[in-house]
Symmetry: C2
């Protein structure tokens, strides 16, 4: 038991009734969105201030007790599971937007704020926060997984959108990284080091994030292709010609079919692109039209665009419904969602090889992705009671990762490593993985911050 009784007492002294040992709480924090077996923590704590987080960390340091942060638990590689026992530090009570600076277009927030809550709070300011993973994740969890989503092609990922952090280190020290200045050349980029560290180096207790002005106008367009090749060629040419896309999403024929069944639609069962442009009224019209010309040059069909909200939503129906339509296409199935990212010149072949691989297997797997970044997912639909299917899905996912590495890409574009991709880190990074371990040991010598994830396991 990594969590001794004295530690529970000490935590209780700090948190009063905001430490929970209840079965339901432990179970809730022992489940993930992924296929990993449930592993409940020994206790869940609900801090409300940075000082409480620092005090919790000091208690754990004194007792050698592991700590695993918990945001919304929406990560897909088992990131937030306390697999070595110890406590789950649930940030949902640290959910305040502390300050919005409209002139500087930034906000200072607590880590438990969700992206939807942040955007609701920003509505009156004319500003928004763009990073949009499919789930309503917390900003602390998103920063820690280096999340992105449909808008990364225009606004960047969490890497580009976190200006600064407050972090509690493994020994209880509280540091600040970054500033509210837009750029800095003053020392190591510690902000960038904690972003994407999956809670293995410290706990974020405050984030400063960039905001953007709501665009004056938005246009959206959709089109179909007979094959993935010309769809990707369209994306490449659009990027090269400098047309500033705010979103560009790909869905394959299987996804189109699933959406037709799910939403009673009648899209051609072909690969599709969906794009969105943000800018001035004249600008977004021009951009949609220039895009349409590139689509035509590449043999695309069914091109339609609009800047009217209802029509835009209709054009994006396929993307909005994609995930649940795919799930519904195989009743009772769970999804093993994979995530790779390659240089865009290799995207068509990567998707095609993956498509063929899945077609040759008995597990269905629609493909969709943030194609402007070269990033895509297969939603592998398995019967949760079938170890054979799970093994097959894992084999397919494994081959996708190998394909990404072979073609100059990364083993995860946005979901991260957690436990699910630990086995690929050596192949992906070689000795650079050792360097990550050296940094980890420098900042967390006892290995108490989210052990069992991302790093070589001692």
């Amino acid at each position: 038991m990594p969590l001794p009784a004295e530690a529970v007492t000490a935590l209780g002294n700090i948190l009063g009734n905001r430490i929970s040992l209840s079965r339901s709480d432990l179970d809730l924090h022992g489940r993930s969105e992924a296929w990993f077996p449930p592993t409940p923590p020994e206790a869940v704590v609900y801090p409300e201030t940075t000082e409480e987080v620092a005090a919790i960390v000091r208690v754990c340091a004194a007792h050698g007790c592991p700590l695993t942060a918990w945001g919304a638990g929406s990560s897909l590689e088992g990131h937030a599971l306390a697999v070595r026992g110890g406590i789950s530090v649930d940030f949902t009570r640290m959910n305040r937007v502390l300050k919005v600076n409209p002139e500087d277009m930034d906000a200072v927030i607590q880590p438990g704020v969700t992206r939807e809550a942040l955007n609701v709070e920003l509505r009156a300011t004319g500003l928004f926060f763009p990073v949009d993973p499919g789930a309503n994740a917390t900003l602390g969890g998103m920063a820690s997984t280096r999340a992105s989503g449909t808008t990364a092609v225009r606004y960047g990922t969490m890497r580009e959108n976190v200006l600064g952090l407050q972090v509690v280190l493994a020994d209880g020290r509280v540091i600040r990284t970054g500033t509210r200045a837009r750029k800095s050349a003053a020392g190591y980029d510690l902000t960038g080091l904690f972003v994407g560290a999956e809670g293995t180096l410290g706990l974020m207790t405050e984030l400063t994030v960039k905001l953007y002005g709501q665009p004056e106008a938005i246009s959206a367009a959709v089109c179909a292709f007979d094959a993935i090749g010309p769809a990707v060629e369209t994306v490449i040419q659009t990027i090269q010609s400098g047309i500033p896309m705010a979103r560009i999403e790909f869905v394959d024929a299987a996804t189109a079919a699933a959406v037709n069944a799910y939403a009673g639609a009648s899209f051609p069962e072909k690969p599709h692109l969906m794009v969105e442009f943000h800018g001035s009224t004249a600008g977004v019209a021009e951009q949609a039209q220039s895009f349409g010309e590139i689509v035509a040059d590449n043999g695309g069909s069914g091109f339609a665009w609009s800047s009217r909200p209802e029509e835009r939503n209709a054009l994006w129906t396929m993307r909005h419904n994609a995930y649940y339509a795919c799930l519904a296409s195989r009743p009772g199935a769970t999804a093993l969602v994979t995530d790779i990212c390659v240089p865009i010149s290799r995207l068509a072949e990567t998707v095609e090889e993956t498509r063929a691989d899945i077609a040759a297997s008995h597990v269905p797997g629609p493909i969709l992705g943030h194609v402007g970044d070269g990033n895509f997912h297969a939603i592998l639909l398995v019967d949760p009671r079938s170890p054979v299917e799970l093994a097959e899905a894992r084999r397919l996912a494994h081959r996708m990762v190998e394909r990404a590495l072979r073609l100059g890409g990364t083993i995860s574009g946005e979901h991260g490593i957690g436990m699910g991709k630990l086995g690929h880190m050596a192949a992906a990074h070689g000795e650079a993985w050792d360097v990550m371990g050296e940094i980890k040991r420098a900042l967390d010598p006892a290995g108490l911050m989210n052990p069992g994830k991302m790093l070589r396991q001692g």
Copy 2:
């Protein structure tokens, strides 16, 4: 003598005549663009391959000999001076563009390629690399200082434009960081850690950088204001309204006066903004006009814009000549160039306080900057033979840094720390500076990589 004779012999065995002990070579590598006293290294080496760099590092590790990388030597805080002796590793012979991938819009290059050479080599591809510090720096040096320039407001700094690195570590291991994929959530962001590390953690031997399509059209505009306040307000409103500026530069009245004298021009001796827009022909015209409206709303005068190359150049005369005009405004003077960056809402007061501070001193100092990022410089013009003036300039620079910190900014927006800003690191970062030291010790326990810079000195 940190460089023993056996080490020289061992280096000679690796490099043949590409190790130099000649006085002129040592002197050249002992000078900087800044006011620091010359400190020549004990030898200069000119590697041509990664393997040679690794072999050099191993020799130095075996003999406890410091290594300081040298790109173009254009850094402004004494970064590249071998202040603890040892060798200067000059990267100018590693100056090849290894691969350009037009579809992926990236290039793999050696660190000694200069930004101008890279853009010459890219000309035929229709692509360009945007980061443009005033000097013709090397990409290795620019990455290591986290450089930026006039285009950062649109294209980002080196932080956003380096996708991956090959690095030789202090023990001679060679690692790769990042991939050619546009984003990644696979482990610690080591690329981001080495970018801006000023050669204190390892030597970059290869960089993968992002490229951009040359815009179809470019428009430029210029305008004057009676005070800095409305100029900054114009910038803020332009950013908020989502008009995508490619460049937005500020020069103060003193700079305008210097340019008038230097270039025989007759600009009003007032604060000016110069902007540039990149996009489609219709887009850049619309953007220049929308900008003009914001200028008018803020009482700006003399607004003029054009998308014709010669006219654009004329509009930007002031900026292109600014640095040399300022130098020439005080014959015989050397410049102590300062660099701070603040949240843009605090920019007007930061510039005004700085302006007043300089006006009250006997050292002249025109102000100009990359105002879209909240980043500006004062070019403090001192008589190099006058210790009193140098002390006064340092006092002014010191107060600028304190002002930046007080107003939520950073002690360096783009020039970096080197030796010149070491004394401000504790105030800027608090215990986070210790964390930088912990990372340094983890990766370079003997402290041989560019000692005397950025970190607390042991």
